[in-house]
């Protein structure tokens, strides 16, 4: 259908956007790339009085991320998926993000969709919330009351629900710098290229000098009500030298740790199978072991 009537504002500063949000409260919706909001409007799932377009706020869409004193990279919330896909800096310093972008919808969507929009939409099958979990990212949110930093694991609260309150705007997403030698893995299954994930796994593995897992984060998406960290799976590998055997153990722990969703795309049994298989493959990729055929 066509979108319902709404009023529209395109503020040029965060403060102006916050003022509009405060004035209109829940009757206003923030417009980022629009690749989820506009379909929602077309399906009449949403009928706001006012759309606040963030596109003209320059500080949200800087061409390059800010480098923080601790070496972390702060990307503006309006950074497009395409920017992550094409950036030489991201490919070199945060390669998991660059690789995962190839799985986000298709080129036309990636040219408009944004990291902030995806995170705030919090679709359980989306890649960005899981990537932020895997990379231990922080979300920086601002309201008229001030700024706060929210850890990735505290950001998504439920399907399509975040910890942001109605008068807050997500400003940027902060990714800690990667250690020099970090392994990463990413696997996703969908019916067609670019479709929403039936299940997916994003992981990072840091090995110490003896080849033992020192730091390991495994994020699962598409399989349950929200993306989540597979903590039991990570525990199964922490302090150990990865092997096909203990990776299989970790994958089984990942499977046990989810409550798989059921819908017309996939049964819970299939999702469970996928979580186990994709965790195995992603971990093998991260530690350069051959994947099971």
């Amino acid at each position: 259908m066509k979108p319902p009537r709404f009023d529209y504002a395109a503020p040029e500063t965060v403060d102006d956007a916050l003022r509009l949000l405060a004035e209109h409260g829940e009757a206003a919706r923030l417009l980022a790339g629009g690749q989820s909001l506009i379909p929602a409007l077309r399906f009449r799932l949403s009928a706001p009085d006012l759309l606040i377009d963030l596109e003209r706020i320059e500080v949200l869409a800087a061409a390059e991320p800010r480098r923080l004193p601790d070496g972390a990279f702060a990307f503006g919330a309006m950074t497009r998926h395409r920017a992550f896909e094409r950036s030489p800096l991201v490919r070199e310093r945060l390669p998991l993000l660059c690789h995962a972008m190839h799985f986000v919808a298709h080129a036309q969507i990636r040219n408009r969709g944004t990291i902030g929009g995806s995170l705030c939409h919090a679709d359980p099958a989306a890649e960005w919330p899981a990537l932020c979990l895997a990379c231990d990212a922080d979300m920086v949110a601002r309201s008229s009351g001030g700024t706060r930093r929210i850890r990735a694991q505290d950001f998504v609260c439920g399907p399509f629900m975040t910890a942001l309150n109605p008068e807050e705007i997500l400003l940027e997403v902060v990714f800690p710098a990667w250690p020099a030698r970090r392994g990463w893995g990413f696997r996703e299954v969908s019916r067609r290229r670019g479709d929403f994930a039936l299940a997916g796994v994003a992981c990072i593995v840091d090995l110490d000098q003896d080849g033992r897992c020192e730091n390991i984060r495994i994020a699962i998406f598409g399989a349950g009500e929200t993306s989540m960290l597979a903590t039991a799976a990570a525990d199964a590998l922490r302090g150990r030298v990865p092997s096909k055997q203990n990776i299989r153990e970790a994958a089984r722990a990942a499977r046990a740790g989810i409550v798989p969703s059921s819908d017309h795309h996939a049964s819970p049994e299939y999702r469970s199978d996928l979580v186990e298989a994709l965790t195995t493959r992603a971990l093998c990729q991260a530690v350069s072991l051959p994947e099971p055929s």
Binding site: K2, F6, Y8, G34, Q35, F43, H102, A107, I109, N111
Partner: protein, 165 residues
């Protein structure tokens, strides 16, 4: 208060001033107000790519873009990718030769996407082509002739299409 908005945008090289409701999509604006009906409406929720246009040179779904978001920007539609005398570009000629269209409904979107691909990657592999058109659905051809048409047009070298200035 849901009043009209004034926008200024360049479409196929020409400046347009318009007043419209914010809820008007770019696709509907192009088709209904500018009579540029080459841009087609398939799914109207961003899955099929039939409405693909170039926004500041990049392919986007016009059905998922509000016309007000195109304010002060440049849009190129399928009509803007052909020379004004109506002759076929090398890409279009290649589509014809390879039978890369049957009903033609997806074709405008395919050509716009292919044009954007070749502007960035003048000699793409078939893999890269398939990747690039993964946001453009076709019900008729089975995609193979489309990929071949784009591949051959690219191999011939030189500019694949003429953009109206």
């Amino acid at each position: 208060m849901t009043g009209q908005r004034a926008i200024t945008l360049t479409v196929n090289g020409r400046l347009h001033l318009a007043e419209l409701e914010p809820r008007r999509t770019l696709a509907d604006f192009l088709r209904e107000q500018l009579d540029l009906t080459g841009t087609h409406l398939g799914c109207e929720h961003g899955a099929c790519g039939a409405c693909t246009v170039l926004l500041d040179g990049r392919p986007v779904c016009a059905c998922l873009t509000l016309a007000v978001q195109a304010d002060r920007r440049s849009v190129v539609t399928i009509e803007g990718l052909s020379p004004p005398d109506g002759s076929l570009t090398r890409l279009q000629e290649s589509f014809r030769r390879h039978h890369a269209l049957q009903c033609g409904f997806c074709t405008a979107g395919m050509i716009v996407t292919a044009h954007a691909l070749l502007s960035e990657n003048p000699r793409p592999s078939r893999e890269a082509i398939r990747d690039a058109i993964s946001g453009n659905l076709c019900r008729c051809t089975g995609y193979v002739p489309i990929v071949e048409a784009i591949y051959e047009a690219a191999q011939a070298g030189g500019p694949a299409v003429t953009t109206a200035k």
